[in-house]
Structures are given as C-alpha cells and as structure tokens.
Amino acid sequence: MMRANSSRRIFFLLCCLVFVLPSGCSTKRDPSDLLAPSEVGTIVVQATLIVGQNFPKVTLARTGSPDQPYDEDAAALPGADVRIFTGSNGEITYFDNDDGTYVAFDHVNVPSQVQPHTEYRLVVRAADGRTVTASTTTPDSFSVRDWLLLEDPSLEVRRPLATFADYPAHPESLYFDPANQLIYQDGLLEARFDRVDAAAYVVGIESLDNGSPFVIDADFLSEEDLAQFQRLTSSPPLAADLSFLRLPWFAIFFEGRYRIRIYAVDRNWYDLARSVPSLGGTNVGFGGNVGDAFERPIFHVEGGIGVFGSGSMSEIGFMIHPKP
C-alpha cells in the first residue's frame, strides 16, 4: 500500500513538474534577438575588371544594421582615396563622385584597358583613416569558338548561331538574324570554347525586353512566384571541364531578346559567386543541417568586405519565341 501511494505521488509530482516548467517559458521573442549587429559600418567595396574593357568604377559603402532596411544612399561612402596599382610603377587614380562611386581618371604607366593575366591591387583609404586592400589577377582572354543550336536529344548540330562579330557596325541586328531565332524548348543552345586559365566560368543571362510576356507555362506557380522571376539572372560558377556549356531551358522565362555572357573569372569572383546564394552560389544547404547554410561569403578583401574581381568575357544575343 505504501509502495502504491509512493508511485502515485511520484507520478503526480512528475505531471506537476512537466506542466510547471513550460509555463515559465514563452516562445515570444524580439526579432532583434536573432541578430548580432557586430559588423555594422564595415566598408563594402565592389569593382570588377573585365579584360579588354576600360577600368570600371569602384563603389564604396558601409554595412548597415541587420534589423533596418538597407538605405543605399545613406550607406554610400564618399571622400575616400581610391587607387589601383599594377606592376612596379603602374597606378590608376580614381575620382570621387561624392555618391560612393569612384571613376578612373588618371592612368600612369598603365594602358587604359584591363590587360589579361595581370595583377592589379586596389587600395582604398577612407576619410576616417581605415584602409581596405584587395588584389586580383586577371584571367587570359577568352572567347567562345562556336555558339550552336543542337537537336534534342540526339545532340547533332542543327545550326550555328551568328555572333556580334558578324555585325560589327550594327550589333543590335544580331537579335534579328534568322539563325538566332530560337523557339522555347526547341533544341539545346551550346557554347563551345577552349578553356583558359581561370578559376571558373559564370554565365550572365539578361532578358532585354522589359515587359515581354512569360514564355514559360507553369500552372503550378502562383502570381507571387512568377513575380520572383527576374530578367537578370546568372549561373553558379561552373568548371566546364568538357570545354562546353549548355544553356538549360529553365533559365529562360520571357519572350524577346536575350543576351548571354560567359565570363572566365578569377578566384575572387569565383569565391564570391559560389558563397553568395543570390549570385547563384551553391551554398543552399545541400548536405548538413537545416539552417546551417547561412555561412559567411568568401570576400578576399582586407579591412572590409565585398569583391575586387576580374574576368574575361564572350557574349551572344538571340530572340526567344514561344512554342507554337
């Protein structure tokens, strides 16, 4: 009898315990608990050198608080001294536009266009005395040898596409060349090239006709989902070990003119692109625990974050038509 009473008492106490414990806890929490604003004010630098093109503008900004909307104007960082150095005495001085952007205006012992296989070093001295540095070594010049439309699934060549080189005086005419009229999901578009000394290849995809209708037929997507489709997209960094890249149809959403640019990119661009999901990075959580994919991007910027990268580029344009 004593034993039975004892058992009941223990069970009763156990029940009390499990009900009392949770009542003292709440699942309500301040969203700011989820943030740790430890890096607010860090300098963000961005500049990407493209081989054969003029030196690009350099953009400087400061990071904002994670619990506040990002205000680009407020974050802009004017008043810095920005220079790019190359070789033993090459130097490019940048002009401050007073809006956080800086443009190259003085080239000393440096060609005005970005050279292949060359190291460039960016030095930024902010008005508050902070210094940000970064280096990039440009890849070799790169061009696609053949842009081809293949049969699907036999992969036989249906026809080559015309390129911008075929229209040196009127590049816009390329989009209307009969060879560059593509029917959505009819055949496969493939770029064949000789690989160069680059960390990876990134494909930039631009739908040039704003407002053109969707070419995809996706009843399973809501209006909200469709609104997420952007006219500017890019691929994750690709190895392209087989010396060709094939455009997946799921990267095309709209009718009208499209421009595809393939970049052979340096290590800095590659590391940024593969570690920022919005850049097509593969860090989307495959493998590992749920929620573990929120990892710090790889920046290669001393004293700040951002990217000072380089690439060489080849491009094509074509017109997308809906399926009949």
């Binding site: 414990l21 699942t27 070990d241 919005s278």
Partner: protein, 654 residues
Amino acid sequence: MRRDVALEPAPFSVPTVDVPGTRTRPREGQTLTGYVELPAKQLARLPAVGEQDIIRSLQLLPGIQSASDVSTGLYIRGGGPDQTLILLDQIPLYNPTHAFGFFSTFNPGAIKDMLLYKGAYPAPYGGRLGAVLDVSNRDGNRNQFHGQGGVSVIAGRLTVEGPIRNGSWVFSARRTYLDPILNAVRSDSNEIPSYYFYDVNGRLNRSLSERDNVMISGYGGKDDVHLDLDVGSYVDIRWGNSAGTAKWTHLFGPGLFGNFLVAASEYRSDTEVRIFDTPYRVSNRLLDVSAKGDLNWRPGRGHEVNAGLLASRYHFAYDQEFNGVPQPGLDQTPAAVAVYAEDDWELSSLTAVRAGLRLERFGKGGRFGLEPRLSVSRVLSDRFRLKAGGGGYTQHLQLVSTEAFSGADFWVPTDVTAKAGRSWQAVCGVEWEPSSRHSVSLEGYATSLRNLVQLDNLRSPDASGTSTEDIFFTGGHGWAAGVELFAQRKTGPLTGWIGYGLGWSRRRFDEVNQGQTYPPKYDRRHDLKLVADWKRRMWSYGAAFLYGTGQAFTPAAARYTLVNPANGGQLDDGLLLPGAKNSARLLPYHRLDVSVTRHGSLFGMKADYFLQVFNLYSRKNEWFIQYDTDDPETVPKVVHQLPIVPTIGVNFEF
C-alpha cells in the same frame, strides 16, 4: 556430456509476484560504460508521432538528441548521425529512414531488441567514430503460430511467426496507406505528391544438429515519391535499403563456439527531376558485401575470449546527369579487412577487465588503423559499481547528408587524399542500485576527434574532382565532453527514468567560420528527459517530457548589398552578413508527449487501443532561422517544429 531435455508445460497458480527484469547480456551491462539494452516492446510503448518508431524512442535517453521533430538521426554525445554505426542482424544499414527521415526503417513489430553503445564501444565493432546501435530481428516463436499487428493513422503492419522443424520463422511487413488520401485531395489546383513506403523483414532459425544452428535474415524497404508539376515538369524520387544475412553458429566443444556469416546490404536512391523541360537525374548506390567469423572461447579462470575477422567489399556508385550532360560521378570498389581480439576477464569477484584490440585495413594503398579498447569495472559495495572505458576508433566512410531530406543521403569512402577520421574516447562512471527495481548511474565522457570532414557546399556543381579533398573540407578537429545522470525505475506498475545530460561539443575547420572553433548545431548544454509508464488494470499511461538547450544558429551581423558582376543587376535589397558561426541560440526546446492505452480485445484477439499525443501543450519549438533578403523590411523568420499531433491506433495479437 550433453543431454537435451524437453519439459512439458503444466498450469499452476501462484500469487502475484514482482519479477525484476534481467539483462540478457549481463556481462555487457556490468563491464561496459555507455551501454543500454532496450527491448523493442518497451520502446514501442512510448508516445509516438503518427507511427511507433523505436529510433525516435531512443531520443528519449540522455545524451541522445534529434536534430528536429522530423528527424530520426541520432546525435549521440556530441557526435553527428554519421558517427553512429547502425546494424540490423549484424549488417550495416546505410540510410535507415523512411519519409525523408521522419521515420526509421525499423518496424517495431519485427524487432527483438536494440543494444546501444553510446561510446567506448568494444572491439567487435568498428568503423564509426562515436557509437553503435545493434538491432536484432525477432527470432520467431518456436512453439506455436503467433501473429501481431497494428494500425496507426498512416501505416499498417503485420508480423507472423511460428515453428518449423527444429527452428522458427518470422515474417513482418509494414506499408503506409497515405496514397488514397493523397489521391483524394489532389486536384489541378494543388500539387500534392503521391507517396508511400513499405518494409518487410524475415528471419528463419533452424538447428541443424546439436552443435549447429543456422539463421537467415532479410530486410527490404522502399520509399517512392512522385510529384507532377506541369507538362514537362515533375519530381520522381525513390530510395530504399535491402539487406540479407546468413549466419551459422557452431559449437566446437565445451567453452568454444563460433559465428560465421555472410551478409550484404544495399542502399540506393534514384532521383529524376524535370523543370521546364530541363532534366536532372542522379542515381546513387552503395553495396556492402561482407563475410565475418567470430570465435568465443571460455578457457576458464574468469576469461572469455572473443576474436574475429571481418572482410568487406564495397561498391560506391554515384552517377548524375544535368540537361543531357553527364556530371562528375563516383565509381569505387574499396575493400576493408578488420581483425579483432578481446578478453573479458573477471580478475576477481569484484573486478572485471575487458581489453581488446582491433586492426583495420581499408581501401587502396592499404591504410591501417590500430584501435585499442579497454573497459574496467570494480564493485565497490553491494550496490555501487565503478566503471571506466575508452578506446581509439577509425572511420573510413563519410556521409553526405541533408537533415531535411534524407532520401538523397549518400556515403563516400575516404581516399588517399585525406586521412581517415579518428577519435579517442574516455568514459568513466558509477552505478548505484539502491534496490532491485531502481538504478542510478552517473557517467562522464570525453571524445577527441581528428581528421573530420565536412561537405564543401561551395564547390561548382559540375566540378570534375571526386576525391575526398574535392568533395569535403578535410582535416577538421573537434571534441565533445559531458556528464550524464540516469535514474531508472525498472519494475512495478510505475516504470520510467529521469535522464540529464550536460554536454559541450566543438568543431574547427580551416575553411569554416574563418578558421575559428565553433559549436555544431547539435551542441546541447542541458538535456533533460523524463519518461514514465504507469500500468493500472486495463489501462496504461505514458508520459515523456524533454527539455534541452536551444540549438546553435548563426545570427546576422550586418546588412549590405552588391551588384551581380555577371549581369550588372542589383542583388537583393540588403544581403545579410552572417556573424560568427553558431554564436547564438534558439529558445530552449521542450515538449510533453503522453499516451493512454486500453488493453482489451478485438474480434477475439488481444488488442491494445492507444491514443498518443505528441507535444501536448503545442509548444512552438524553434527549428531554424530563415533569413529572407528579398524584402528589406523583412525580419528573420523563425521556422517552428511540429505542433500538437494526436495519434490513434490499435495493436493486436493472435
């Protein structure tokens, strides 16, 4: 001389007696640290979600955690699920999950018992850095035909067993019946997949002679998901395990017997996705064919010597194709050999020592691993026992796993580009049995981990390298340490336990968190488990309460923006910059599960009708933080785990 005697059953009446449970492997329990032996029936009585699951029940023990309410992965003493060896009738199962990890492959009706070594496991086992879960199928009833089954809200199961000449057989099957429900609610306006899983278990035991027994055991299971999205867009995923074991046990003479087995285990998954006519296909297969021989010799003077040899041949095949272009795959057939010997020696009536050595050779190039194992126990008084144990452990196979979707899990062997994972464990504890029905144990453990790997999530999807250093970040270090208190009431109308764990776990990789040490997500400082099972006449009541420190997560440290260099487009209006990895904590996790069972009858059969409620007070436990950067106004979103989930069903026997 040996004489077999058959006893005739004869009924007689006695007053109600209280029979304390006895361990079927008393030596294991007396000598080893971190050892738990659990009958499947005991685990099956515990509250469940949707379907009884004995792996989920293990998560109610101290020192064992789950990653989430929807995961059956075992995180034991600060280690990941890949660091636990899971055996079914002595052959590894490589992906023992159904329903994307929601359920385990172990049909509770088919399982006899589970031996769990939470750490410092003995020499007969190897191949994992942390723990071992050794599951045995039921032997089958040698006396009469018997059946049992169960019906829950999502699945039905049936087990039948009976005698054969000089032996027994058992067959068990389980299948979900969600398909008709899913079909009924599917329409043109919603995309609900079709889904089912099934598993079957079978076992045959037979005595060939007075000295020879054979056992043949098999398992097969499959999950199948199909989702039609639109014309030219669908998802089709199938995965499953199959395993078979044939074992011969021979009595060589007094004090010497041997077990010899051949076994095979296969895991395969096939995924085919087509989105807007762009196809992606991935096929993954792991085949493990093993032969094993063990000798058990009792030469006297308190010695029990075990020695054995295990030879395994693996076939890893990973094959994928995107948009008609073959992607880098894996096709390797490494071999492994392990030999071990151990002596379980009762030095005196008070002291026992179990010393063992295991030697492993794996893969091309023949990398060796030498693994000493030692356990010591000392009786301090009638009721107190002191235990200590430790050893070295090696792991050559690495799991690429996704907590949210275990169907795509695959294993890869460590090759010559990286060292095999290595751990050293030390455990010590004290046991106190204040009465025959109560026991209390206190254990401390420490584990050092070297040569860890972590999937390199950032590599290019078409990168050709498939060596270990191509796929993983290698050379990681880590450690785990903690203390566990386990107080158990084993017999009587009220049984259950109170378990408390205090633990720390850390990892470090050069490529992760800027090379700084960080806690893994499952680092759990406090871990409290209260389990009670109360029988009263025709009713049984069960309750389980869990409380744990919130999981670690990475908070956002700042907001910034960049332009996509590939197209000049502005990225999201304010990317979030992660702070130090896992430097913040979710809210503490707790929940209460309860169950009520009415023992009765169904069409003349003995039946148990049960109602189980998972998360009775519907605590909104946090699962992970989702950072949405599409909208600059959006604050981080907390994704919660399962709310209250009631389950009803019936188990029956005939």
